[in-house]
């Protein structure tokens, strides 16, 4: 075909060089510069020996797994409601997608202690006579953090599920109805397997997990509540928050080698996720 189309890759690669290739190369280089100059893996050794790093690896993994799991559950639940021919389905759907539009930093604020929890605390205490619960214990705030993340992204799972459902031939569902399956049963036995096996849904779940692995805003708001904005190693330190603190808390002296080493390691791990996603895109492909 006409070769001139290749010209349009020139600005693309120019842009990518500035905002991706050069910074990534620079990060790799910075991560390999040792304290005494010269290239050596000392930053990676420091990273592996850093307990705060492993703390945030654990927290990020736990956070991504819980929030992705809840988001999938929430999204499928909402999708089920919207496939039940309720009146006002369009209005319901509009309400359900609203969280997708809210900035994550606002989501963190929405679910922080004085926002709704004081209403709930007051209700439980004065109406039901319960003692106050401690909003700053990890057993409370960690699930809340994971739920806030899921609250925002569940609707995406819902939208994707609905698009998979609408692109499946109706005959599939009709034959299920013919066998007497209805409502929840039909959804669980027929719709759910179709939705969860579709490459698009798997792609979105992998993408969501990967994005949750670098969650920053919601843990950042909670860091302020649990008074852990001045040191790394706190129970809200996801990997992004860990790196952010290393960058901006003055006492750490901007350890750029260590930060780059962690960022490069994360990049290598995320390439594995990218490979998984690309495999799914090939399956979706042909369009």
């Amino acid at each position: 075909m006409a070769k001139f189309w290749y010209l349009f890759f020139v600005p693309l690669f120019a842009l990518l060089s500035v905002v991706e290739f050069y910074p990534i190369a620079e990060s790799v280089y910075l991560s390999l510069v040792g304290t005494g100059g010269g290239l050596q893996p000392s930053n990676y050794v420091a990273m592996v020996n850093d307990s705060a790093f492993w703390n945030s690896v654990n927290i990020s993994l736990l956070y991504s797994m819980t929030s992705t799991f809840i988001a999938v559950g929430l999204g499928l639940g909402l999708a089920f409601l919207l496939t039940e021919n309720l009146r006002g389905r369009g209005v319901l759907e509009a309400f359900y997608v609203v969280p997708l539009a809210v900035a994550p930093i606002v989501v963190g604020t929405l679910w922080s202690p004085p926002e709704m929890w004081d209403d709930i605390q007051t209700f439980l205490h004065f109406i039901l006579g319960q003692p106050y619960f401690n909003e700053l214990s990890p057993a409370f705030f960690f699930p809340v953090m994971a739920y806030s993340e899921a609250w925002e992204w569940g609707p995406l799972i819902m939208l994707v599920a609905l698009s998979v459902i609408s692109s499946t031939p109706r005959a599939v569902y009709e034959s299920a109805e013919l066998y007497g399956a209805s409502g929840l049963r039909k959804f669980r036995r027929v719709t759910l397997p179709i939705v969860m096996r579709s490459p698009v849904m798997r792609f979105v779940i992998v993408l969501r997990f990967m994005d949750a692995m670098r969650a920053f805003e919601i843990p950042q708001t909670w860091a302020s509540w649990v008074s852990s904005t001045t040191a790394v190693g706190s129970p809200v330190d996801t990997l992004s928050l860990f790196l952010y603190k290393l960058m901006f808390i003055p006492t750490y002296n901007f350890p750029i080698g260590l930060i780059s080493a962690v960022a490069v390691s994360l990049f290598l791990v995320s390439l594995a996720a990218a490979a998984l996603m690309l495999g799914l895109v090939r399956t979706i492909g042909g369009r």
Binding site: V98, L100, Y132, W151, V262, S270
Partner: protein, 304 residues
């Protein structure tokens, strides 16, 4: 979506009662789900208006922060906090900053991305799949691998806290989304249209400029709006690369309104709510306007 919903078989006579109570339950759950999605936003908007609903339960609002009961709020409706955010905390300036940064980065992404989207969708040249995959794979990169070098470089060449600097950095968020969404919109144009265009136009180039570009224009608008909200809501890149002069809305909501490190936030809460409301209202409005395309946007063009 939405078509063919009316053909559910009617309930058998003996099951009617059970079925209708089941429907009622479904409606209850659906309304609870609406509350779940929307109530937190209502609480925020009200709190920004000086209204805390907890006193309805008790006469006083108690929160339990840092181990001690913490009396807050009450019902004192007042536009004060909204006005304060707008006129004193400089919210319009932050909105302008977000708007300028988003516009620059969307303009760049469109200029680069529209032809590339077309190539990925329509032009059969070698290496295009590779380019498409490369963009997706880069989307997987953690922002920090890019932010740290950019932060250092920007500081030394004077791009830190400038519109072009931040707008460029936002490309790592926007570019892949724009290209993959546009690819989808170009693919949505029926094959017959392209076939007819090939007959009438002198060259492939004209098919692109005369036919495809015009038909894809609504898709370009949707993509731009979507990218706009992405940049509007983005926090980490702008928090790192903006300072006082170019602080964006998302950053301003949090750090512009009284963040200090190491102290529990017990101040400026109503201002924060007012600012948060001002931040989410435009984003929600735009996203609702293009809600048919949200799945496509957030799934990088994979879901239709």
């Amino acid at each position: 979506m939405g078509e063919g919903d009316g053909d559910a078989p009617g309930p058998a006579p003996g099951r009617r009662r059970r079925v209708s109570s089941r429907r009622a339950l479904l409606y209850v759950v659906a309304v609870l789900a609406v509350l779940n999605s929307f109530w937190p936003l209502v609480v925020m908007a009200l709190a920004g208006y000086g209204i805390d609903l907890a006193p309805l339960f008790s006469g006083k609002a108690v929160s339990y922060v840092a181990g001690v009961p913490f009396y807050s709020g009450g019902i004192f409706p007042s536009p004060y906090y909204y006005l304060f955010s707008i006129f004193v905390l400089g919210f319009p300036r932050m909105m302008l900053n977000s708007f300028v940064i988003a516009s620059i980065s969307i303009a760049i992404a469109m200029g680069v991305g529209v032809p590339v989207g077309y190539i990925l969708a329509r032009v059969d040249i070698r290496g295009r799949t590779l380019v498409a995959y490369l963009l997706l794979a880069l989307r997987a990169a953690s922002p920090f691998i890019v932010i740290v070098p950019l932060f250092v470089t920007y500081s030394s060449i004077g791009l830190y806290d400038t519109y072009p600097g931040v707008a460029l950095a936002e490309e790592m968020l926007v570019l892949a989304v724009v290209v993959w969404m546009l690819k989808g919109f170009f693919e949505d144009i029926p094959r017959e249209v392209y076939d007819a265009a090939t007959v009438f136009c002198k060259s492939e180039w004209q098919v692109f400029t005369r036919v495809a570009m015009r038909l894809v224009l609504p898709g370009v608008v949707v993509t731009a709006l979507f990218a706009f909200v992405l940049v509007w809501n983005e926090f980490l890149i702008s928090e790192t690369l903006t300072g006082a002069a170019t602080k964006t809305v998302a950053v301003g909501v949090w750090s512009g309104i009284g963040e200090t490190t190491g102290v529990v936030k017990s101040f400026g809460w109503d201002d924060l709510n007012a600012a948060g409301t001002l931040a989410f209202v435009p984003a929600v409005a735009v996203m609702l306007a293009i809600r048919r395309y949200l799945a496509r946007g957030f799934s990088l063009g994979q879901a239709r």
